[in-house]
């Protein structure tokens, strides 16, 4: 079975569908029109570029270049996380980069090497898409979780201090905030898992079926994709929070100023 290509004209016609959400975004004065247009243009440009360089990555199929590509992805993801969480660079940059790197390498190579049992684990055809899907999921869940964690600590200072002041270890005092961060970041994923195949037909599965795989193969890949994204996202969050601890709190356990201070406009 062959994949049906989409011509550029058809793609252009398909993109016209966006006029419907754009109309409502404009009609209800949501203030999101500009961001949506810019976001869509960025998506189109970025995906065209990805198409070009993925072709080259697959052509070269060099483990070093593939790994360099992962490093670039981690750098971009870390910068994006910094921008979206508004946390200070010196607090988050190294921990989140380390969190992404450790998780994506451990979980990604486990899947490729042990589950798929592919000899060339750095083969671009598997390495790049698997690491890419892990990075995307880790980024979105980490941003939600870190926002929840630090905003919770700031908002509920009294709870944090009450626990510390009554003999809690640093880990015990942070636990309610980590709990909230996990609930906020992973509830949508857990809800998604439970309706998978009934309400939602996930991207990987559809992609594989459209690409000619049998549904039996597609569901197994989909299961594993859910498992590895879940695991890698949780692992990277825990690594990030642990590594960010030393720069987020002083020696007495007090929360330091972690957010980038906004400059006031006169």
């Amino acid at each position: 079975m062959e994949t049906i290509d989409i011509s550029y004209l058809s793609l252009g016609i398909g993109l016209l569908l966006l006029l419907i959400p754009l109309f409502y975004i404009w009609k209800f004065k949501t203030g999101l029109l500009h961001a949506t247009v810019i976001g869509t243009v960025r998506m189109i440009v970025q995906l065209f570029f990805i198409g070009v360089y993925l072709n080259y990555l697959f052509l070269w199929d060099n483990p070093w270049i593939n790994f360099l590509w992962v490093i670039v992805m981690i750098f971009v993801a870390s910068q994006t996380a910094l921008a979206r969480t508004q946390l200070k660079r010196k607090i988050l940059l190294l921990p989140i980069s380390a969190g992404f790197l450790c998780s994506v390498v451990c979980v990604g190579l486990f899947f490729i090497g042990i589950v798929l049992q592919i000899e060339k684990v750095f083969s671009a055809r598997y390495f790049i898409p698997i690491f890419g899907i892990l990075m995307g999921n880790m980024l979105s869940s980490n941003v939600i979780a870190l926002n929840a964690y630090y905003s919770g600590l700031k908002r509920e200072q009294q709870l944090y201090r009450y626990l510390l002041g009554n003999g809690a270890t640093r880990a015990e005092a942070q636990a309610p905030f980590i709990r909230q961060a996990i609930i906020k970041a992973f509830s949508p994923l857990i809800a998604n898992i439970s309706v998978m195949g009934l309400v939602a037909f996930p991207g990987t599965m559809i992609g594989q079926i459209l690409g000619g795989s049998s549904p039996n193969v597609a569901i197994k890949y989909q299961m594993m994709i859910m498992v590895i994204t879940f695991t890698a996202s949780m692992l990277s969050l825990m690594i990030t929070i642990s590594l960010a601890y030393r720069k987020s709190f002083d020696a007495y356990g007090k929360l330091l100023s972690v957010m980038v201070e906004k400059k006031e406009h006169k």
Partner: protein, 209 residues
């Protein structure tokens, strides 16, 4: 050995000196109340004992342990603390009162409803409050519940910021009698209070200027 020893302590926020040269000796079984005008540093002093506010000068020794970066966790394990206007983000009273009992430091004194209800009785609280939502109880009831909890975790030092601020005079007297019971068991109690009647019931009353 005194339970709490504060020597020549001073606190300043930048150039704003709250107080300096403060000394206090608090013994086992003693109840001390501190009062003074707003902004003179009473709450900051309590926070300094807990390691939340750094001293500009002087030192704090708790149960023989000098408070510093290395010992702060050990010091906090000796304290039961209730901050001013404590409002924890919990829905149910039972979760609020059980919260400190889940900590490793307090595992030697497990939570028991019968002990809690005995404290409730001493403090003039009804048992039914235990099954309510936190937003269904008054500030004064919450204050007394947390005093009950602080006493139950069995620490050598109990620190309470404004224990009777939301209480009528009858309830204040119950609180002072309750603290007296804890002191008889060997705990030392340090409070900050603007309530003169409460302060008069303590062993010592220190006025900060």
């Amino acid at each position: 050995m005194p339970m709490l020893q504060i020597e020549n302590a001073g606190i300043a926020y930048g150039n704003n000196v709250l107080f300096s040269g403060f000394n206090l000796l608090l013994n086992k079984g003693e109840i001390v109340s501190i009062s003074g005008p707003s902004g003179c540093g009473k709450t900051s002093l309590l926070n300094a004992i807990l390691g939340f506010v750094p001293l500009k000068e002087g030192r704090i020794i708790l149960n023989g342990i000098l408070l510093n970066k290395e010992s702060v966790d050990k010091v906090r394990k000796q304290i039961a603390w209730i901050p001013q206007e404590l409002a924890l983000p919990l829905e149910w009273v039972r979760d609020m009162v059980q919260l400190p009992f889940g900590l490793k430091a307090n595992r030697s004194t497990p939570f028991s409803e019968s002990r809690l209800f005995a404290c409730f009785e001493d403090l003039g609280l009804e048992r039914e409050l235990y099954d309510k939502r936190v937003n269904e109880i008054s500030g004064g009831q919450r204050q007394r519940m947390m005093i009950a909890v602080a006493s139950m975790i069995g620490k050598p030092l109990i620190i309470v910021d404004e224990p009777t601020s939301a209480l009528d005079s009858g309830s204040s007297e119950k609180v002072i009698s309750f603290f007296r019971k804890q002191a008889e068991k060997g705990s030392a109690v340090l409070t900050v209070s603007h309530d003169k009647r409460f302060a008069d019931g303590c062993d010592r009353h220190i006025i900060m200027m």
